[in-house]
């Protein structure tokens, strides 16, 4: 009877520890990636839930293009330096978001068309500015970071944005919910509607631009929208969806990083793919609204 050579190494709990924990124990960059992406997921999930409920799910992608003129101006002034370019990106992002939101509020144009109009103008402006300078550097590519390359400033940025976002959301939670479900009612009892809307937009821009800078566009937008959409299938109560989206986002970060490590896959996309897998599972099997539940015979009248 032959024995396995290292009996200790094949015991179930060691194997699990090896597989699930040791990559993070052994490498600092893995720990940083985990913490940084967790911070993004914790704030991104709740923001994503509100974006989804306010029918603004495509804002993330639009915003990635809208910030170009700000980045270009930062580049014109200070060259390829991250600080001014990020700042420029924030300014452009805020301008587009607030202009789009304001116009939608006071004119016949709705939110989505308003944003489309402004981000396209912004993008074209940015491309023009870049071509004036004559250089061919892909500015947006330079601005966007990577989850495996989180420097100290990037960590502080993401953590700070996360904290600020959660605090602000807690503050405006009630009027924001009302503004989403029954804006007419809010308008009839309070003047807070427009202000709350603007604050929310500002939070969206802050999370997106900060997220781009630290972790790249795909990851920032992906961690915002996919966990939020997934949470809808598990609960029909917004006060449950919000923490659930954050939790699902964190689960995606953890499993995505592990997949990147063990299966040699690109890191950012791995996390988003993990979030996508969670979404598909939720879509099919989510207790509140999963598709598979519809196929099962149900009691017609609850007694």
């Amino acid at each position: 009877m032959t024995r396995a050579r290292n009996p200790a190494r094949t015991r179930p709990d060691t194997v699990i520890a090896d597989y699930l924990i040791s990559p993070f124990a052994e490498f600092a960059f893995m720990r940083r990636a985990l913490v940084g992406s967790f911070a993004l997921a914790i704030a991104g999930g709740p923001i994503g839930v509100f974006l989804m409920l306010r029918r603004m799910s495509l804002v993330g992608d639009a915003m990635a293009h809208a910030i170009l003129p700000g980045v270009a101006v930062g580049y014109l002034i200070a060259g390829l330096s991250l600080g001014p370019m990020t700042l420029g990106g924030l300014v452009a992002g805020f301008a587009v978001a607030l202009l789009a939101g304001g116009v939608a509020r006071v004119s016949v144009i709705k939110e989505d068309a308003s944003l489309a109009a402004f981000y396209l103008i912004s993008l074209a402006l940015g491309v023009t500015i870049v071509s004036l300078r004559g250089s061919n550097v892909d500015l947006l590519h330079v601005l966007f970071g990577s989850v495996l390359a989180l420097g100290d400033e990037a960590m502080i940025l993401v953590a700070g944005i996360s904290t600020l976002t959660l605090a602000a959301l807690a503050l405006i939670y009630r009027p924001l919910v009302l503004d989403t479900v029954d804006p007419g009612f809010l308008r009839s009892v309070s003047r807070a509607g427009p202000a709350v809307h603007m604050i929310f937009l500002a939070l969206v821009v802050l999370n997106l631009v900060g997220g781009f800078n630290a972790l790249g566009t795909l990851l920032a937008v992906g961690l915002m929208m996919l966990p939020a959409a997934s949470s809808r299938f598990w609960s029909a109560d917004i006060s449950v969806m919000i923490p659930l989206s954050a939790a699902l986002g964190m689960l995606a970060c953890y499993s995505g990083l592990l997949a990147s490590y063990h299966l040699n896959l690109a890191a950012g996309p791995s996390i988003v793919l993990a979030a996508g897998a969670i979404y598909i599972i939720s879509l099919l099997a989510g207790q509140a609204a999963g598709l598979l539940w519809r196929l099962l015979p149900k009691a017609h009248v609850s007694r």
């Binding site: 990559p23 052994e26 490498f27 600092a28 960059f29 893995m30 940083r32 990636a33 390829l80 991250l82 071509s131 004559g134 250089s135 061919n136 550097v137 892909d138 590519h141 330079v142 970071g145 990577s146 495996l148 390359a149 989180l150 420097g151 990037a154 990083l257 990147s260 490590y261 063990h262 299966l263 040699n264 896959l265 690109a266 890191a267 950012g268 996309p269 791995s270």
Partner: protein, 308 residues
């Protein structure tokens, strides 16, 4: 028989002659595809050519998008000099679109090309890379001597009257290249043989590596084109620790952060900036080809040699 008509014809011919002479003194319009080539062509062509360089210092020739001004320059050029080895994927279309009648010259003709290393960490993979030839042949000074010869011959073919000038310039430049080669070898010699390996982000130093014996490790995902996987980064960190690589180099700002992360975790030094695909702007440390090669060699030696 000198009748009136003949006289007028002769007068007209006499008037045209100075015009013809003036035309011959006009400079030869030449287009070079990117900054490194531009520097070489200018050194050889001297005052006889009117040079336009398409991809400026600081821009990336791999993903360059030609402008209308470029099309105009190419259309009115007599000679267009490219690197070849598939470096300028956009040149063929530009030549066609501008309907240029210029002679298209590949400076790397005759160079013994090396296969692209592919983006793999270190050397464990049996060398099968299906990525085509490595175009960065100018990283070896010996290859650039071939470049110079090709450029000289192309210019002389288009402007025979300038042949002597071109040959003189080329000869002088070749002598400078010899001095450069010696200096690079001197710098590398400062580094202990077991320390001659560096980490860099871009897979562009294959020819340098072959010519001067410094190993360049460019793991997948550190360049701007592909994304890194955690496994790659982990393996690289382990390799750096195991083999005691002491220096990493950055090239562009986008990979700087990942390199710094790796340096932080392994204790390796960020040795400085290397220039591979383009010269630096005029106020930078690598504004000509010779300055660029010297800068790279000095920077590498400074990071790896014991007394630094």
């Amino acid at each position: 028989m000198l009748d009136r008509r003949t006289l007028i014809a002769a007068a007209a011919a006499a008037l045209a002659l100075p015009g013809a002479l003036v035309a011959q003194e006009a400079k030869l319009p030449v287009v070079a595809s990117f900054s490194i080539l531009g520097d070489l062509v200018q050194a050889i062509g001297g005052a006889r050519i009117e040079l336009t360089t398409l991809v400026q210092p600081g821009s990336d020739a791999h993903v360059y998008k030609p402008t209308p001004a470029d099309a105009k320059a190419v259309a009115s050029a007599r000679v267009v000099i490219t690197n070849g080895l598939k470096f300028e994927g956009w040149m063929a279309r530009l030549m066609q679109a501008s309907a240029s009648k210029a002679a298209l010259v590949e400076a790397s003709r005759g160079v013994k090309a090396v296969e692209a290393q592919g983006d793999k960490p270190g050397h464990g993979h049996g060398g099968h890379s299906h990525r085509g030839l490595d175009p960065h042949a100018w990283q070896s000074v010996a290859n650039v001597k071939i470049y110079v010869a090709n450029i000289r011959d192309a210019l002389a073919a288009a402007d025979p009257a300038g042949r002597l000038l071109f040959e003189g310039n080329a000869a002088r430049y070749l002598a400078e290249l010899d001095a450069l080669e010696a200096e690079i070898r001197r710098q590398v010699a400062r580094i202990p043989p077991d320390k001659r390996r560096v980490i860099t982000s871009h897979d562009a130093f294959g020819y340098f590596s072959a010519a001067y014996g410094v190993e360049f490790i460019a793991p997948r995902g550190l360049s701007t084109e592909t994304e890194a996987s955690a496994k790659d980064v982990a393996r690289l960190i382990q390799q750096i620790r195991r083999e005691n690589v002491t220096a990493v180099f950055v090239e562009t700002i986008s990979d700087q952060r990942l390199i710094e992360q790796i340096a932080r975790e392994t204790g390796a030094k960020v040795g400085g900036t290397l220039f591979s695909d383009a010269l630096s702007p005029a106020n930078g440390p690598a504004s000509t080809y010779i300055l660029m090669m010297r800068h790279n060699a000095t920077t590498i030696a400074a990071a790896l040699a014991p007394n630094s």
